[in-house]
Amino acid sequence: MISKVALQGAFLEHIHILQRIPQVSRAVPVRNIEQLNSIDALIIPGGESTAIALVAERSGLIEPLREFVRSKPTWGTCAGMILLANKANKTKKGGQSLIGGLDITVNRNEFGSQINSFESAIQIQHITTSSSDLFPAVFIRAPIISSINSPDVAVLARLQCNTVETDVSAIVAVKQGHLLATAFHPELTNDDRLHRFFVKVVLDFLNEKKKEL
């Protein structure tokens, strides 16, 4: 029931986690429109957002993805978060295509080159329960959310450490309705709480839909 955009990046890592969650009946890669039409929810993985966007464009997937994101639960991690944002800064020359959907602005590659990539334990709303119960967040050439542009966007996590010159309160996870975005990579850890949370978002969404019918 959950699928992944398998155009490029760490999609197998997400699938390996989803396969361990009993409520997930099927976790498959998505490379074309037919596959996209067959799924209930989507994870857009980490990778290079320019490469994913260019390949999606050439495969005729940008518009179908926009349509999907408007109507079904979608979670973007790192590059996936950039693609879900309505606005992105520090993109390649001439800008890049975005799927959009989240009323946020992101700064690509906020922390600098790979030498400034890092791991940090953070608190996440709905996920961690106390200040001693933290989530291992892996930031790789990561983006941050530089501004929230709608009251509908809920902040789930802020960075709690001083890293390079970035503001300590930088926002790194948000939720807006059926859309979820994280600047870091839960798929690079064994902590599956965010994946379970997303599965719950999907199940709630599907139940709502049923009630409407």
Partner: protein, 319 residues
């Protein structure tokens, strides 16, 4: 180094060890999770050799996941001869400021000071590469000493595991660079796959013996046998010139491809680069492979490897 941990979720087996969780309010850089993690993000992508900022922009627009900055592509190194070294940091900086994707650069085998310089200018990945003239005929760089992750070439499983034990966070099969001939890339990929298959059905006693035969650390061989794949991301390189070459390497089981001379030594680099990116994404979709293979113009000329004298084989460099 017995502290090696396989990048999490690279395979579907649940792994007991995990990234060390840092204390609240602090962050740690340059952990193996972070080093190997960038390679995990590059999977399913194409990394392209470029010699200047203009080529880097063409590569980025084509959908490359990273560029490899170097002074001369392997085909020219072959033609012109002489000692080839790390690129001028000025050129690398120009490329860094021209593109938003990761920038890699090559150092000579064993040349740890070239690596220190690349770390200083904030490169994203270092390739300790047989394409350049080796600086040390006995030792490779101790890659654990660096904050920047390394990718290294390998022709077989033993060589791959020796590089990982030295700290490499990513492997690429060597192939024969600058030839436009995929035969060696295929040989190296198939060799590694068959050696892994062999190891995966061995008992512990046999693995001890096999480790000795491969000259590979036992604990890494055992991990490889358990995972049934290399314990880090593995790309293919050396001789890939067409979308079909790239898709074949993907179907043979690599995680992504490096294309060196194949793009900018061809008739229409931009078109060929885009076609190779599409071929790597849709490597199992023959309809798309047929479409993108059409009308690409001239491919690089290519060299038959059996006509090359032994001392010009780059894949024999490194040990």
């Amino acid at each position: 180094m017995s502290n090696f941990t396989t990048p999490t979720n690279l395979v579907s087996i649940e792994q007991s060890s995990d990234a060390k969780i840092t204390v609240n309010g602090t962050s740690t850089q340059a952990t193996f999770t972070v080093k190997a993690g960038l390679a995990q993000m590059l999977k399913g992508g194409v990394i392209m050799d470029v010699v200047n900022a203009d080529q880097a922009r063409i590569a980025e627009e084509a959908g490359a996941v990273a560029v490899m900055a170097l002074e001369r592509v392997p085909a020219d190194i072959r033609k012109e001869g002489g000692v080839s070294r790390m690129s001028d940091p000025k050129m690398i900086r120009e490329i860094q400021s021209a593109v938003s994707i990761p920038v890699m650069a090559k150092v000579r085998i064993g040349h740890f000071v070239e690596a220190q310089i690349l770390e200083q200018i904030g490169i994203d990945y270092i390739d300790e590469s047989e394409v350049l003239t080796p600086a040390d005929e006995q030792y490779h760089i101790n890659k654990h000493n660096f904050k920047i992750p390394f990718v290294c070439g390998a022709k077989n499983l033993g060589e791959a595991l020796r590089r990982i034990s030295e700290g490499a966070a990513m492997i690429r099969t060597k192939g024969e660079p600058g030839t436009g001939n995929v035969v060696e890339a295929v040989r190296h990929m198939r060799t590694i796959t068959s050696e892994i298959k062999k190891a995966s059905i061995m008992s512990d006693e046999e693995l001890f013996g096999y480790a000795k035969e491969l000259q590979a650390p036992y604990h890494l061989l055992k991990e490889t046998a358990k995972l049934k794949r290399l314990p880090v991301v593995n790309f293919s390189a050396g001789g890939i010139a067409t979308p079909a070459d790239a898709a074949m390497m993907m179907q043979l089981g690599c995680d992504g491809v490096f294309v060196g001379s194949g793009i900018f030594k061809s008739g229409d680099p931009s078109k060929r680069a885009k076609a190779i990116v599409q071929a790597v994404t849709h490597y199992n979709d023959t309809k798309i492979l047929a479409e993108v293979s059409e009308g690409l113009g001239e491919a690089m000329v290519g060299i038959n490897i059996d006509t090359l004298p032994d001392n010009q084989l780059m894949s024999k460099r490194g040990w």
